[in-house]
Symmetry: D2
Subunit: 430 residues, 4 copies
């Protein structure tokens, strides 16, 4: 294997950092990645529509937002054929090195950014070094720019390596809304994977640390609910309204009060509410953004059933119509101990790694679990690797940044681990 120059990956990461795009709007990012993997010389590149199952997407923004980012990508010089394949928000890319019979390995990295305004503080490195976000209100505040660079780095490493088998790198869109994992994992690109790796930097782990296999991500479902009632003058004819405000308040109170479950932890949150227009008008519309999480997939089902019943009844109670839409979803799937064991072994020889945990709880939610479940259901092995990175500020905050040394560490670690699987040194798929 040839190691990619670390400085090139850092430069790539900085370019991605400067041009963050929100979920399902990664038009420019995908196009740039397509250019890059073509330069590397892979055997197959699937851009856009073929890289995901469009019907399985969740949380796709409305057309006007999609168009705005599409047009921006056009202006910035994204290739027309790439863009055409992503029209309507079908972003993402799969890059394949196909070297004949042998193990089939997948690596998934996510590529989208968050709707935050990036810090302008002088001690914020991207600001100081001139690669702060050029897209107002959007920011790579969770390290997906680094993940993407790592994905490219692994491709480069293995492109020149001698092995028999196949490597597929999945550049997944829309992880931040838990909307892309399901769509990408539903494609037949995932059908034949014997081993699967997902990677995340940071998450509180400092540079030099590796968690070989994350466990216990929370199963999650996010949704949007809209109550439609009828407006009326609050002074002259309050009885003529069908009060979406009251339906909403009843729903909020009762959703938060779903009973705890004996079989696992639960979470519930109504995080956003918008209702009505003015104090003297009975509100005719109310929209909630809410989510439930759980320690197991069954308990998530329990929470979801309760949410749905509460919303439905709250609407009926106030004679309002209800529309709901699932906008994000991820199951709980734990890392496979065997494959995590291989990562642990490789990490012991990886330069820059000074602390290894065989497993650790993930805490939050991730839709890489869709890949992991699919691979595991078919008898393959899957692990979710965390590569530590010093980050001066928490994930999902305006001052978030990564320690760029972790890009090289992760690239080496994953290239070697994948190489080992492909050469069947340490691990036999079954």
């Amino acid at each position: 294997m040839s190691e990619p120059a670390a400085s090139e990956l850092i430069e790539l990461r900085r370019r991605l950092h400067a041009y963050p795009e929100p979920s399902w709007c990664e038009f420019y990012t995908t196009s740039r990645l397509a250019d890059r993997v073509e330069e590397i010389g892979v055997d197959e590149v699937i851009v856009g529509r073929g890289a995901i199952d469009p019907d399985e997407r969740l949380g796709v923004p409305d057309d006007s937002k999609l168009e705005r980012w599409y047009d921006r990508a056009v202006e910035n010089g994204a290739r027309a054929d790439h863009l055409e394949s992503m029209d309507g928000g079908t972003t993402g890319l799969v890059a394949i090195l196909d070297r004949g019979p042998g193990p089939v390995v997948g690596l998934r990295v996510d590529i989208d950014a968050l709707p935050f305004e990036e810090s302008t503080e002088p001690d914020h490195e991207p600001a100081a070094e001139g690669f702060r976000s050029e897209n107002p209100g959007v920011m790579h505040a969770c390290g997906h720019d680094a993940h993407t660079a790592i994905g490219i780095g692994v491709l480069e490493s293995l492109a020149d390596a001698a092995f028999s088998g196949t490597l597929k790198v999945f550049f997944q869109p829309a992880e931040e809304v838990l909307g892309g994992g399901r769509a990408m994992a539903a494609t037949d690109h995932v059908d034949d994977l014997d081993a699967f790796f997902a990677v995340h930097v940071g998450l509180g782990h400092p540079t030099g640390t590796v968690v070989a296999g994350s466990t216990k991500p929370l199963a999650l479902r996010q949704s949007r609910a809209t109550f439609a009632g009828e407006s009326a003058h609050a002074g002259l004819a309050p009885n003529e309204g069908r009060n979406a405000m009251q339906a909403m308040a009843t729903a909020i109170q009762n959703v938060h009060a779903i009973p705890r479950h004996a079989d696992g932890l639960t979470r519930v949150n109504v995080g956003s509410a918008r209702a009505g227009t003015a104090s003297n008008v009975v509100a005719d519309e109310a929209t909630l953004e809410l989510e439930v999480r759980a320690g197991t997939n069954d308990v998530l089902e329990y929470m979801s059933t309760h949410v749905d019943r509460i919303l439905r009844a709250a609407g009926e109670m106030h004679d309002c119509e209800l529309e709901t839409e699932v906008t994000g979803r991820a199951p709980r799937v734990d890392s496979d101990p065997e494959l995590a064991g291989l990562v642990e072994t490789v990490a012991q020889r990886t330069p820059g790694v000074d602390s290894i945990e065989s497993h650790a709880p993930f805490g939050a939610s991730e839709d890489a679990t869709y890949f992991m479940r699919r691979v595991s259901d078919r008898g393959g092995h899957a692990t979710y690797v965390v590569v530590g990175t010093d980050h001066p500020s928490g994930h999902h905050t305006p001052g978030f940044d990564v320690d760029e040394r972790s890009i090289e560490i992760a690239t080496t670690l994953l290239s070697d681990a994948i190489g080992d699987v492909l050469s069947e040194v340490a691990y036999t798929s079954h």
Copy 2:
């Protein structure tokens, strides 16, 4: 007409006061009244089952309570044939003077008492004079003892009078629960009434005052709702419960929040709630007693529809079964100005009357309105007369008492007014 001796009516009232019975349990009271009207010598007496339509009763207590009061009436010497006709809570009595062709006039008085413990204070006349309630926890705290005496007084007055026509006195059970008016007004005894009087003493009006025709009683519906869920250990398996407590709380909050109505005043109250057993058990049952009132019958319908929908949805929201029962009901019906005019005229010559109001708002609710609506629907005239009485304490309080002078005033006023209708002096039915 021969005037009944006032002292006899007062003695009757005191005997009734000492033996108060709750709604639908007026076994002894009805039997004593039957004895008395037979002594007076009326043309027809209908006791119990024939005096009401049993299927139209509301708010009938459970069998064990009915039996307890039935047995008590037996012990106190109520006649067996009377009691037999009231078995199962079919109390009440109609007494008829039938003197051939001519106007048919009805008078309704109510006979039940309230579930209060009567005052033992020395300044409470019934306590001081030795006719305080002998039935613990029950009390004539609204003057129905006086009303009953007035009904007897009017019968006596007119029994010896010369007239052509018919007088029917309705001794109605279960007014306090708004459950007897509907049952009695549904009988064919009400079919042929040309004129109808109901009477109430007090209501804040002092002795000497007469309101010739009350208006604007609130339409009312009282009901009971029971949510049935499933219990579970609150620590070990909270998810296995179906929480009737939460259904109940949601119902209480939303019922109180039914929007006001442009067409008339509204009232709503959940007055009683009972749910669950212990802190460590998810409640599997919750029962509410609630009511709605309104300025018009249409607005009552609006309120009732909302209550029913809210209760149903609250049950569905928490996966609980709902049972509801209407326990009391009364429409709004205003007094007929023409018949009230006759009362006003008669009042001007009635001894003891020093202040007359042609009409006044009633404020609360009354199920005499069922008679009034039926009479009025058939072209007859109906008025609800208030005869003032000094009362030292409010209606429905333990210290309530009436000024017994008002019994004679009311008897004279109503006898004369009914006499005028029967002799067609001042008023022609059509």
Copy 3:
């Protein structure tokens, strides 16, 4: 008196209609009116800051909105000295004809528009005739353009008339938010009024109808409440949040459930709610727009006290800070029967009037009542006159329009009535 040419008033009304401005942003409107009254030749004009008491304003929008409309007025050629006097949202104007000793009469017309997009339907006259709103999202949908023209018309009528006494015409800003009446009625311009007229067109009354004195406007208080809590990750640390969403929902449910009042009708509405940002974040802020109304000022006080207590407790319950601001307010004041009698008399001789009601309930709320209360408290007389106008669509709807004939009718009616007061023909102030 010289009658103003109806066509000029109609033209003025159309110009105002084409340039509607929201409450407290009537910079251009006020300036144009100042120009016009100067042309008429009044004795005194007070523009902006002096026409109102700035500290008594309610519902003033934020600075950025004020600046936007200020700048727009500058662009449209409003006079610099006028604008300077209105800087910061101190709009409005008082025009005075001072003809020496004698009665002092006030007329109030309101000048602001509503935040609606005007209809573009071909059967909507302003669209068909080319005077539809040029200010996107703002519209004269309640007839204040007509009111303003009537105010000018009355001034013109009486400017040349011979009388001894004073006429003050109040061009009031911010009626739509119930925020300007209090501020203008608090000035000393109102100190010496012997008689006061307010006028509104339409309100369901057709052209040709006059209501000489409106009664029973609902007392009203509108307010904004903001709960400030603390955000937290809904999956990782729900306990670290202070949940403004839950505070808000509790407030909504309980505010709508404030008990009805025996002494008068009540209204309550939470009409707008905005809380939180995303489903996975515990909401740290929630803002409600709400109002209470009542049949009497005491009952409004009762409702307001309850709202304030509920909001405060809802905040405490969820450990959130609460900020509240009263954004609109109007007391209930009924028209004076004596002054309404004069209007009735004058209406009988006014051309175009074919139906007169001495009084009628107003139904909604109006802050002209601040003037009426102040005048009445000082021994003067005040009436609120409704001049019918055929309107094809309801007030506060995109298709609202007035029948322009009503402008002349109202101008004549009010000029004559004011003239009568000034000449002390039919009415003697005291």
Copy 4:
């Protein structure tokens, strides 16, 4: 050691089973136990007041209930001196074998029963064998009758044994309400314990199984909250009420919705609610019985703080006074692995034991943890032992029963384990 005859312990258990008494009402039970331990010949017996700290009791019933059970104990022949020491509900007993210097060991068994009506089904052994509860509405449905017999059995075993040191057996009242553990653990009898054992039969473990040390009992707080408002006629004067019903409903909804906690599981339940009297009266009183539980003591503190704040704010919101009382409480304390290890070792040689778990989660809550915490805080060792018993129906159900063979197993296991500690064979206190 001399083994007590198993048949005698079974007979004792059956006598206790036939005479169950509720928490703090164990007058007869305590007196009978006092008789029995005197027969055994212990060195010290502390009956009633001295066995507990009366001020630390929680969940003591009202005087009328205490008196009823006291009188019943008198009738059944409980000794007067015993009863005197328990007057006012100070039940419980400590029996001490004091054999000079050496280790001090405690064993705690609980003695109270539950407010359930026992099954009369023929397949319910106590019914079939004639030792069903003679106290209507009360039942030993959790095995405390067996625990008590085990306590006696251990005392008998060790009474004749040769050892140097002290054994204290704590017959604890009021475990079912989590009210007695705190009171007994607060006495100085617990000051000098080097080792402490608590025992429970069943809990889903079959006969033959032993759990040497339970872990993770839920920390718990139970409380009662009463809102006091003001009643009013719901039709005539709803505004005059201060609505305890609404305060209660708001509290129920919000208490159930306390946010989950990142650091451990939580439970919350409002299990009982009683409010108001009748549908037409605004409720002036409402009482809730509720509880919170948590995986850690800190998280219980979090839950308790939230409950208290919510209740306080719900009262303020509806202008009601609030009174709260903690009625039950237990901390989380896990078994000491070292002492559990000793139990495990002993269990391996105990006849009838065929399955041993070194530790297992407890699931529910227990106030033996007060003893465990106190002992552990002072450097001693404490373990909570579960001895399996086949039970045909769940704990706290009318058909619950124990397999009496488990009484002998537990007696032998605990006698031996305590014997080992006393003889310092396997374990050295420090």
